[in-house]
Each structure stands twice: as structure tokens, then as C-alpha cells.
Amino acid sequence: MKPAPFDYHAPRQLKEAAELLATLPNAKILAGGQSLVPMMNFRYVVADHLVDLGGISDLRGIAVVDGWLRIGAMMRQRELETAPEIAQHCPLLAEALHHVGHRQTRNRGTIGGSLAHADPAAELPAVCAGYDAVIHVASIRGIRQVAFADFSTGFMATALEPDEMIAAIDLPVWRQGHGFGFHEFARRHGDFALAGAAALLDVGAGNVVRRAALSLCGVAATPVRVEAAEARLIGQPLDSTLIRSAAAAAWLVEPVSDIHAGAEYRRHLAQVLSARALTDAARRAGVDVPSVV
């Protein structure tokens, strides 16, 4: 349970990190290390070089600019969980963060690391899918922006090239007063979720849904947007019947069976958790709906 030897690099500037990633052979990025280091201890990952991004101040910070919340990739999950800017502007992210690992791992783990690791059961990629996040990707060629739908490419796979790193994440700020909900099922709090659902609802006059997003984790190789559910919600008056109908659209997901849960059970969870997340979102948007499951 000891990692194989590697050379350690601790750049202080983004440019320096990009140059290291472009020139060092078999280099891995060390962000929070809460997924990478276990894999190194097991020797699933053997890297010749680790580039630690922990000392780069340009990769930190939270700012609201023109209707977008920009989060530096190296912000620790627990910093985001407790940040007033997150609670005010993107409360779904704070809600989901309560479910990410444990306090000890959230103290170290970063948002950028979670997105780059791209575990299909992870909460933060599902939140980014729901928000239509924009990922800022840095390399020696500069910074490019990638829509989250294009960023997430497959099972633990992303659009990142080997010499690229996530610099920041942009989340669009929804109208103040919008509703949000996150529910997942794990055998114990902090374990990998068997399935999870993230919901956003913007509700206007007459309780009519103006805008909706529903995304799932744990039910496919990547986070899934349930567009059929969103289509059922938008333009309709929000009540428990509509929530039940929208959540039922999660039936369309095609999960895999593994030792933790069968595909049918995961599909069942997808619907139940979608209904619960949408119900929370409805209530937080000011619409009093009874629980449907």
C-alpha cells in the first residue's frame, strides 16, 4: 500500500504548471489527491511525475461575473460547501457537496479534481451537467472553454488532453428564488452513491415552470441530463402530478448492474430520487407540494 516512486513538482504559476505538463513524460496532476492517492497506493496509477497544483493562487477563488459564478479549480470542496457566495448563487452545489465523501476528504478534495476524475457516481459532475457548466481548460496553448456536455466523454473520461488542466468552472446563476434539490442513495453517508439526482426549477406566475434541469449520477458511464423530464416540466403548472410524471421520465436511463446494485434497482432509484429532488426544488421555489415518494 505504498505508491511507486515519482518526482514531485510544485509550480507556483499556472504557466509553469502548463509547461511541466507539456514536457514531462507520464506526468499526473495532483489536485486534492483524494482519488488519485488511493489509486497510487494501490498502484493502479504509477506516474513518473506528479505536478501539484496546490500552490497556484490563480487556480483559487470564487467570483460572480455577468450572471456566472466562477470557481477556481483548486477550491476545496469544504470551502465551497461553506462559502456564502455558493449558498447564495448556486445553492444546488452546496447541497450536493454535503454528500461528497467525508469531511476529511472534502477538506482536501477539490472541485477541479472531482470533475477531472469523472467518477460516474460522483455528485459534482452531475451538478455541472444540470447547470450546463462551462469548463475552462488551461495548457501551454492558452485557455479554451468547453461546455460540460462536451467535457464529459465517457466512463472516467473527459475532453482533457494529457497536457491540459482545469483552471476554473463557470456555473450560470439562476434567478434568485429558484428551487433546487439533491438526493442520493448510498449504503452509508459518504459512500459512493448507487444513484443520485440533482434538480433545478424556476417557477413563475401561476406556479408555471419557466426553466428546469434534472441530472443524474450513478446510472450511466457519465452524468445524464433527463431532457424528457425537463420537457414535461417546462410551461406546465407545478404540482405533485407533474413531478411524478417528470420523475417517471428517468425510467429511460440504462444503468449497469454491478456488485453494489442491479440495473433495475438503479433505474427505480433514479425515478424515486428524481421525484424527491424535484419536490425539494418545488418547495424551495415556493410551491407547496406533497411528497410523492
Partner: protein, 161 residues
């Protein structure tokens, strides 16, 4: 560059060593500094036995390299223990049957130290959630949760004088 000069303050005492980059903070504390109160159970971030405070924040010492602690302050279970006695939290563990074999206890104490600092009056649910990252295979947690709530009460009583 596989070896790195590293300066770490541990329990208030400064240490300077040249360490292999792959040396975890847990092995650094145990083997370089002889602080064997930090236990290693799983070495892949699941059991929580190796939990220490890094700049005051609970951290799994098996998932951090010693070189990453360069310039930081680390507190281990030894640093939570007053000279010639037990802390309020430690005494509460004794009084409430909060430990049996004791292997998980250092991690429990470190995690609860952070929790009680941030939240002096936690509910039972909040204690259980905070301890969700620390595995105990003896007690069934009942005594540990009781000890945490008891310690919180004693610390509040002491603060009120």
C-alpha cells in the same frame, strides 16, 4: 526531485527533513518522527484511523504526501493530549465506553476535535455524520457518539464557567 526538503510543524515543534516524495504524511509522522499515535488501517482513505489536523482541518494522512505538508502545521493525537492527563474529549471517551480496542480512537478524537471547534453544540445526527468517515469495528459507535455529546456538554459548561 524524488527527494524533497520538507519543513513541517508538528504539535508545535518544527521539523526539517529531506523526504522521498512518495512518503505519505502518515508514514512521515510514524517513521520519521516516531509519532505512532496516528494509526494506519486501510491506507487508501476509507477507515479514517490516520486522521490528523493540517492547519486545523481534519485530513487523511494516508492520502497526503509529506512534501505537501511543507510549511504547514500538523496536529496529531499526541498534540491533543495535555501533559500528564487526558483532554476533556479523551476523558469523555473513557467515561462513556467510547473505545474498546482503541485502534480507531486517534482518528475519532481528531475528527471530533475539529467538529467541536466548529460546532460546540452538535446534534447526535451531526456527530454521526462527522464520524461517517471514521470506521470502528468494536463499539457500534453508540459509546463514541455518547462520548462526543458528553464532551461537548462539558466543554460548554466549562466555557460558561
Amino acid at each position: 526531485m524524488s527527494k524533497q526538503p520538507t519543513r513541517v510543524t508538528v504539535n508545535g515543534k518544527a521539523h526539517a527533513r529531506i523526504v522521498e516524495a512518495r512518503l505519505t504524511l502518515a508514514d512521515f509522522l510514524r517513521h520519521e518522527l516516531g509519532l505512532t499515535g496516528t494509526h494506519l488501517g486501510c491506507e487508501h482513505g476509507v477507515c479514517g484511523a490516520c486522521t490528523v489536523l493540517v492547519d486545523g482541518q481534519s485530513t487523511r494522512a494516508c492520502l497526503m504526501f509529506a512534501v505537501q505538508a511543507n510549511g504547514r502545521e500538523v496536529t496529531t493525537v499526541e498534540g491533543l493530549t495535555p501533559d500528564g492527563g487526558l483532554s476533556v474529549l479523551q476523558q469523555a471517551f473513557v467515561d462513556n465506553h467510547g473505545l474498546q480496542c482503541g485502534f480507531c480512537t486517534p482518528g475519532m478524537l481528531v475528527t471530533l476535535t475539529e467538529l467541536l471547534r466548529e460546532n460546540p453544540a452538535p446534534s447526535e445526527d451531526e456527530v454521526r455524520e462527522a464520524l461517517s468517515g471514521n470506521l470502528c469495528r468494536c463499539t457500534g459507535y453508540a459509546g463514541i457518539v455518547k462520548a462526543a455529546l458528553d464532551a461537548a456538554q462539558r466543554l460548554r459548561d466549562a466555557a460558561e464557567g
